[in-house]
Amino acid sequence: MTFDLAEQLVLFALQYLVVLALGPLLLGLGRRVRARAQGRAGASLLQVYRDLWKLLRKDVVYSESSSWLTRYAPGISFAALLAGIPLIPWLVLPTPLGYIGDLVVLVGLLALSRFIIALAALDAGSAFGGMGSTREMWMGALAEPAFLLVIFAFGGPVGSLQAGVIAASGVALGLAYVHPSLLLAIVAYVLLLLVETGRLPVDNPATHLELTMVHEAMVLEYSGRDLALIEWGQGVKLAMMIGLLAALALPWGLATSWGLVALLVAVGVLALKLAGGHYIVSIFETRLAKWRLFRVADLMTLAVVLAFGSLVLIYMVGGGA
């Protein structure tokens, strides 16, 4: 079943709406789960929206020594994330206008979003910004090869690097989609997700100690609507990373036909997958302490090795059962 252009455009807009709306909720859910696991009540799930609304109405303050880079960086970073959203199957298969790019483009866009924020962190010349950006770029340099190998591992058996095509073959094949290599790729992806979204063994999103900050250290200079955009972008990126895993590892439940009921079910399934995925990540997080920075290299070596092992199983053993 395929959609005509008008339907595709409506779906295209709808998935933006859903992802942009759900991103902050996902952040709120993670904070709530961690609070509960630590015996605190935790803030309401809607607190993130209130914070964003408050930040959006506040004035922006820029350092006198900063240039245009600081002013444009949040927008560019957010736009790079927005450009990546249509590359992931969120609600329907085939992905509306999904042929505009494959997962390598997605990795590039995530790298651009990270790069521009790291660059802007150096702009004002504060010490923490510099520390944060060196750490972030170092982690990024380790994570990117792992990310590409994981993508090859997911796309290898299907022969395509478009997430929509991979997910569609998963839905079509059913249980035959399961192969030993899939599990290796999933484990590698989860390790990668922790680094890409700055979760606990790597970076503590709730820290107030500048010396241990990674992402937070880079955005210390930002205020007002710029900060709101960065926070919102974090939520969207989290949704993208979990959504991509859900689409590649658990593609069942995506709608394949046009209709109100089918779309509502697809939205429900998506919300369930995102919330479930983030719930597991957050619970996992509460059981870990932050690692020494240089152990991130161990984690990413493991991710590279698992993804490579997955490729070995695909191309040298092949076939599956």
């Binding site: 192969h179 030993p180 090795v305 076939g319």
Partner: protein, 220 residues
């Protein structure tokens, strides 16, 4: 048909769990985490054997699966945990090779076992493509664990991981080495765990540590 294809997919997954946990054994730095991972691996191996019993209608493999689960996944980890508690040793795994080197060696061992097991695939009784290379890799990773860790207790875990690999390879090639051989192996492992416990306790009493490296000093 659908039930057996589901079982086949589950077989693929549980074999993959055995491989992933073998890798995780290489990167753990705490002994208790290592033992827990070994327990998960043994459970995965037991499930794999059980699924093969179901798929190829070889009922005696059910018994093997149950024994593997009982001995390797429950009793042995429990004994190991007791040993760790009673010895009050340092909780960290002593390593000759760093975590990164170990992980990369693990990858090399997977490549090696794919090369070695590839030509053997047509001989194997179980026609799951990945099972034989995966079991060989588990065996070799266990062997590497045995070689590259310093403390006697982690070397015992390496030996046990090797045993899991041998069990899987045996089942994949010939539906097991014969039920009695496997049962005897399980009994042997139990004895091994007990001997290791006594040995480690004595070692701790005499030398105040369980670092096998330091035993070299006893050579003439």
């Amino acid at each position: 048909m659908s039930l057996s294809s589901a079982a086949l997919s589950a077989l693929d997954l549980s074999a993959a769990v055995a491989l992933v946990t073998a890798w995780l054994c290489l990167v753990h730095r705490r002994i208790s985490a290592l033992v827990a991972t070994y327990a998960i691996q043994s459970a995965a191996v037991a499930i794999t054997v059980g699924l093969i019993a179901y798929l190829y209608q070889t009922p005696d493999l059910y018994l093997l699966a149950a024994t593997t689960f009982g001995v390797n996944a429950v009793v042995l980890p429990w004994v190991m945990d007791r040993v760790i508690l009673s010895l009050k040793v340092d909780r960290m795994v002593g390593m000759y090779a760093s975590v990164r080197t170990s992980a990369l060696v693990g990858l090399g061992l997977l490549l090696l076992s794919v090369f070695v097991a590839g030509p053997l695939a047509p001989v194997a009784e179980v026609s799951s493509g990945g099972l034989l290379p995966i079991s060989m890799a588990t065996l070799l990773i266990g062997f590497f664990l045995l070689l590259s860790r310093r403390k006697a207790i982690t070397q015992v875990v390496g030996l046990l991981v090797m045993n899991n690999g041998i069990l899987l390879a045996g089942v994949a090639l010939t539906y097991g080495l014969g039920l009695f051989v496997e049962l005897a192996l399980a009994a042997n492992l139990l004895v091994l765990a007990i001997v290791a416990r006594i040995f480690l306790t004595r070692m701790k009493e005499s030398f105040d540590h369980v670092d096998a490296d330091a035993l070299r000093a006893l050579e003439g």
